[in-house]
Amino acid sequence: MVRSRRVGTPAVERRRPARRLRKVLVANRGEIAVRVCKALRELGIASVAVYSEVDRTALHVSRADEAYPLDGNASLDTYLRGDKILAIAAACGADAIHPGYGFLSENAAFAAACRDAGVLFIGPSPEAIARMGDKLQARETARRAEVPLVPGSPGPVRDLREALAIAADLGYPVMLKAAAGGGGKGMRRVEAPAELESAFARTTEEARRAFANPELFLEKYILDPRHIEVQVFGDQHGHYAALGERECTIQRRHQKVIEEAPSPLVTPELRASMGKTATSLAAAVGYVGAGTVEFVADQAGNFYFLEMNTRLQVEHPVTELVTGLDLVHEQIRVAAGEPLSFLDRLPLEPRGWAIECRIYAEDPRRDFLPAVGRIVKLSIPYGPGVRNDFGIYEGYEVPVHYDPLLGKLAVWGEDRPQAIARMKRALHDLAIEGLRTNVAFHAWAMDQPAFRDGRLDTGFIARSFKPEMLDPAPAELERFVAAAVLRAYELDRTPRLPRNSGASAWARAARAGKDVLDEDAAG
């Protein structure tokens, strides 16, 4: 293992020759850990999984070449414990750590600890993470790079009184955001001064618990906003590139639900302008690896910097589908010191259209509350233009401790209408039984005229969706009734039938079970 320690903290990574990676530790779980393991196997690099106690049976453990336990279950005791993970990396001889998204992926101290330990962190430098990961520093960096900004508080808000004063200046609605937040966590929209006190207290508490930093700041809320982000990449040779945009406007409680690439709003001119802005920001921090510059856009196409995510995004597959690039391969190559592989293809124009639906364990009928349980039946769609990134299997018990994302269903089509039709088909073919999911919600969304026309804003779900919209229509209800009655009928008949009486195969199968009802209940 190469052990090197740098003196000082250079803002721009020095150029260095490409090194050969033999073993990479994946410091994550769920679908993204599975995704990274796939890329490593394709590149001929050994993969190392880490897992919490309850995750011994998680898919990423069996997909990796090696796996090491992390004591405990809570994220704070396991996937957020950089010290434990670095100790495992040293013990198993990993050359590098891929952090996935969430957990340690945007933790500058962890990236620095990797550097100190001589383990390559597959991501940008600790300095770049620190500058972009902290929203206040990011805004300042963006302002200096002449990236347009949403009006907001100049720094962290000290207390409620200051928050009330700043919010009054900005005009309601305003947005409260955790300075260290990301991925939609630790954010709240506040409509009126009366709501600010409770929102301030709860967001502070969430920020403290989730990010160990209670600092908040305030921003003006853009009405009918769209959320459009640009995928950027930098290498260690001073190249910066934009890989086009993703529209992530369909959100619920600031959590992305449906993403697509390209954006129905973005013209080639706007794409060029957003790409130029995003790469200039990446260049300003000497960015290396995959990053995403998030913008909030109004319906006229004015866009403002929101934040930069210094990691791979959940929704990276839609960019992969329209560019033909593998972003995880690219991350690993760039981290090893190779130049960007697609420099001769710039500027990248999207080919066709891609849509991704995030499949969550949650109940759309009950305010999307997280659901847990055992997956008793799983049928994953395939066929032309369909891609799946899942971290589950039939029989898997979804634990309560982590994010409820089960996986992502993505499709590619020649154009947007074909992509939507394909997504509808894929959702029809997707069956996850045993716990509540948002699959039917996605099917509903694909049918909405506003979605089909690309008339999107982040309030779409809150405004348009009512739980009863997922109720079967009266004509459709007969199908449910018929299925339940047939099952009841077979159960009623079973005990009365003599052995080998020519009873149905179904009844015989039921009788062969020790206790039909108990076994079913276990499922």
């Binding site: 008793v376 997707l430 099917a443 997922l470 047939l486 009841a488």
Partner: protein, 175 residues
Amino acid sequence: MKYQVRAQDHQFEVEVGGEAPQYLLRIDGRQATVDACTLGDRSLLSVLLDHVSYLAHVVPVHAAPGAFDVSIGGKQVRIRVLDELAAMAQQMQAPAVRGRVVLRSPMPGLVIDVRVRPGDRVRAGSPLVVVEAMKMQNELASEVAGTVSEVQAQLNQAVESGATLVVIEADGKAS
């Protein structure tokens, strides 16, 4: 066999005859031919209802005899199937006590805040308890106006889905 079936707010009278895979169904007098078979697992049914093909996942609800959770195309509906005897028995049961409204945890999680004490007056929408699950804080509010009669939720307590958190005597409807 004759069944009384309740699905959402609808009531159906269903008559079934036949044997797998061929059945005859009469739903509210309308006759339908059904071809149904299980696919590898007896909870997974391929149904041809008058030749219309669909897949249904049907699971008996352990806690509620005669109830089945049926899911088709990602939509799930709880169906109560009562034979004639059970339907009669249920009609004779006394109606539930009114006025007592129980707040149950809608998911497994951790109680991180309890906002009320016994005797507190609450309005519809008043926050009662905050339960954290999967990194989200969920504020659970009262659905009715009334008086808190019982608080079972305890701070930092892990609760199962369906656990009783708070009981409220609702105004106006007390028996």
